[in-house]
Amino acid sequence: MTTTKDAAVTPAPAAPSPSTPSAARRLMHTVGLQNLSLILAIIVLVALIGSQNSSFFLVSNIKTIGTAVAISGLVALVQTVVIIMGGIDISLGSVAGLASVTSAMIFTATGSNAVVSVLGALVIGSICGLVNGLVVIYGRVTPLIATLASLATYKGIAQLVSNGRAQGYTGSDPFYLFLARGSLIGIPTLIWVLALVAVVIHLMLRYSRVGRNIYAVGGNDTAARLAGININEHILFVFGLAGFIAAISGLLITARTGSGQPVSGSEGLEFQAVTAAALGGAALRGGKGSIAGTILAVILLGVLVNGMTMLGFNPFWQNVAQGVLLVVAVVVQQLSSGERRVGLPK
């Protein structure tokens, strides 16, 4: 156990080998094959786009990529947690929209009180998530169907309270301005938020008791139950957390557009989040996945979308590209599991 210290600080699952491995193999062990291929894909993509359009490498463009992925990245991070637990939450885009529109409406109603509007949006997001969890546990509805239902419901509520229109104006509030356009030591606030949430969730998954139990529940829920883990508590916590983080991304939407958006900017977030998590190596059957992988996948997707825009692709290609990536990522996962190719997959 001489490499214990390395394993403790590196994000990828490290399996220290008793013999002294070569440098390349050690890199493989600490970073992992999945992450290594993502890094490779990013390098190839960057080289390709950069060779066609050199303004891709401008600091301003790199910041653009960073701020563009912050909102979808947040949802991808928490989607990873849900997927590791063996679930999925496709209502997160709607939760973000509802949080965005209510944050602006509370902001207006309280006479431009940013603190109350932020807290209000976070509470609403968390409640949305907890309701999903309750339906899954006590209604015995699979997460996919439960959150498909709430995808429609929460979106409808956001449209109802706003009459389908953008709400309020937060563009002159210093806090929202700082969120949208501010920066610390040259790095935009949006990227800070994403990085902070990533670190917290990473630490939770890897080092906290709850995080470790989430892996166990996703890996084998019977084993987890028989080992004395309260599965229901964990499901409720994870769905609540998902709603909470989706609300943060809703707040970022409000900040960036200067107003509360019921649908625009949040629609489709859940899809990007599932794609990023799957590309990042989270197994859709649960028990496996890492924040490092998801972050790499988020960067890959951000670079891809940005490059396609710069190279003048028809923007409709973006959906096609992401859809293909999602299905390829899952096909690779499933085929490597060696299941018989008969009937509906489990």
């Binding site: 156990m1 403790a8 008791r209 892996y215 080992a227 004395g228 028990g287």
Partner: protein
């Protein structure tokens, strides 16, 4: 016994990784005969049936039907050749009628349309022909059938296209006497029609009622075939047992301490009126054949299944466990039968799996202490001699024996004082078995109370201080270490309540 056998198996051999499941087994199924196939758990009966059914391809030997060598690659091939194996667990499509279930895969149709009228009429006619018309209604929705009726659907489905060779795998396990009578009537009729019938059962009484011949397997080998008229129940039991016991692990008995686990008249959805107790330092074995309700009882004690009546007492306190969490809190640890499905998180590391139940103790403010955890895990890897390249190795890459040691390590780390070990050495190779036996012995010596479920009689005899034998959810009797023999345990495990006089002394 007059005609040549309808089906003959010669030298059938089947190997699984690490196990020789069938070793040169011969089987004759003569026309107009019911041949009972008997043997302990793991003797090879199921493997043989699966080969007949085309589920498995044998590694050696051949099947001969009607003078021709046949090979079955799928159950469909077997069916076409006129051989049906009726599974113990019925496969039912729940939300359609009995009639549709009967003709599944070959629904009568004209121009792509299935006529419900024709279907019902055919089904009613077939049921009448087979003598089950008073037991099954073709129009009933399958989901509302009782377990016994489902079994009958499975049987009728197999008999509809008049197979020449029919194999029943414990067909009566969910049937009542009334239904068994109907089943036996049809088996007798099939015999008169000159069909060849194989009948797997653990119930000696039934074998004497219905079978003409008996073929006994033990450890994947053929022990012999006899005519039922020529042998007694004792003879069959003697053929089934008789493993080489000289190599067996034998543990020294320890002085048992105070009683820590007591069950009084415990009834759950699967077992009735079970009473037993276990003291510190004692190993009590729950013996019985597969399906006796032992694993279900274990789950009930561990808080995972509700106890309907009766009481479970641990350390002098009556337990009211609603979840496994409650049972674990008072010091009960369960190593379940299906290690991979129910105990281990296979895609996670040895460390994760050992520490699973003790993360609370290792945590401060919700964060697990990495240092303490690694120390604890390293301790148990060493103490139980778990062979793994590192604590970070995924459990799925370990051998069966080392996986079982990981499960044991989990409860040792939790310091559970009452351990329920369900088939602790299933799928474990011989070397690792001996290690697990000595771990169990050590645990008892250190004052743990151990309730061990095992289907391997040598293991039961070698380890247990006392043996409780179950059948059909009931306790049939208990034996002390001194009086227990393989014959006595097996006789108790097969003695139906109606036929206790058949127990050899």
């Amino acid at each position: 016994m007059v005609d040549a056998p309808l089906l003959t198996a010669r030298g059938v051999t089947k190997r699984f990784p690490g196990v020789l499941a069938l070793d040169q087994v011969d089987l004759d199924l003569p026309a107009g005969n019911v041949t009972a196939l008997m043997g302990e758990n793991g003797a090879g009966k199921s493997t043989l049936l699966k080969i007949l059914n085309g589920d498995y391809r044998p590694d050696g030997g051949e099947l001969v039907m009607g003078g021709h060598v046949v090979t079955f690659s799928t159950p469909h091939d077997a069916r076409r050749a006129g051989l049906r194996v009726i599974a113990q667990e019925p496969e039912i499509v729940p939300h359609v009628t009995v009639a549709e279930n009967l003709y599944l895969g070959k629904l009568p149709e004209s121009r792509g349309v299935v006529s419900q009228t024709v279907l019902r009429r055919d089904a009613a006619a077939d049921l009448r022909r087979l003598g089950f018309d008073h037991l099954l209604d073709p129009g009933q929705i399958a989901a509302t059938l009782s377990p016994a009726q489902r079994q009958l659907v499975e049987i009728v489905r197999a008999l509809i296209d008049d197979p020449q060779v029919i194999c029943f795998d414990e067909p009566t396990s969910s049937l009542s006497d009334h239904e068994i009578d109907a089943l036996f009537a049809i088996i007798r009729r099939l015999r008169e029609q000159g069909r060849a019938i194989a009948y797997v059962s653990h119930r000696l009484r039934e074998v004497f009622q219905i079978a003409d011949r008996v073929t006994v397997l033990r450890d994947g080998r053929l022990v012999g075939s006899r005519t039922v008229a020529d042998i007694s129940q004792d003879d069959i039991v003697r053929m089934m047992v008789g493993r080489d016991l000289s190599q067996m692990y034998r543990r020294e008995s320890h002085q048992a301490g105070e009683e820590v686990l007591r069950l009084e008249h415990v009834t759950t959805d699967d077992v009735q009126d079970v009473s037993l107790h276990v003291r510190r330092g004692e190993i009590v074995a729950l013996a019985g054949l597969v399906g006796a309700g032992r694993s279900e009882l274990a789950l009930a004690i561990a808080g995972d299944r509700p106890v309907r009546s009766g009481s479970v007492t641990a350390f002098g306190k009556v337990l009211r466990c609603k979840t496994p969490q409650d049972a674990i809190k008072v010091g009960i640890g369960l190593a379940p039968e299906e290690r991979k499905a129910d105990a281990l998180v296979l895609i996670r590391s040895v460390r994760d799996n050992i520490a699973l139940a003790v993360l609370g103790r290792l945590s401060k403010y919700g964060m697990v202490s990495d240092r303490q955890e690694r120390k604890l895990v390293a301790t148990y890897i060493e103490r139980l001699n778990i062979r793994t390249p590192s604590a970070e190795q995924r459990v799925e890459n370990l051998s069966g024996g080392n996986q079982q040691k990981v499960v044991l390590a989990r409860w040792l780390a939790k310091e559970s004082q009452i351990l329920i070990l369900d088939e602790p050495t299933r799928g474990v190779d011989v070397g690792a078995k001996a290690e697990i036996y000595s771990i169990i012995d050590q645990l008892a010596a250190n004052g743990a109370a151990i309730l061990m479920i095992s289907s391997e009689l040598p293991e039961v005899l070698g380890l247990a201080d006392r043996i409780v034998v179950m059948q059909n959810g009931h306790v049939n009797g208990g034996l002390t270490r001194a009086e227990a023999t393989e014959e006595k345990i097996l006789a108790l495990a097969m003695a139906d309540e109606l036929d206790t006089e058949g127990v050899p002394a």
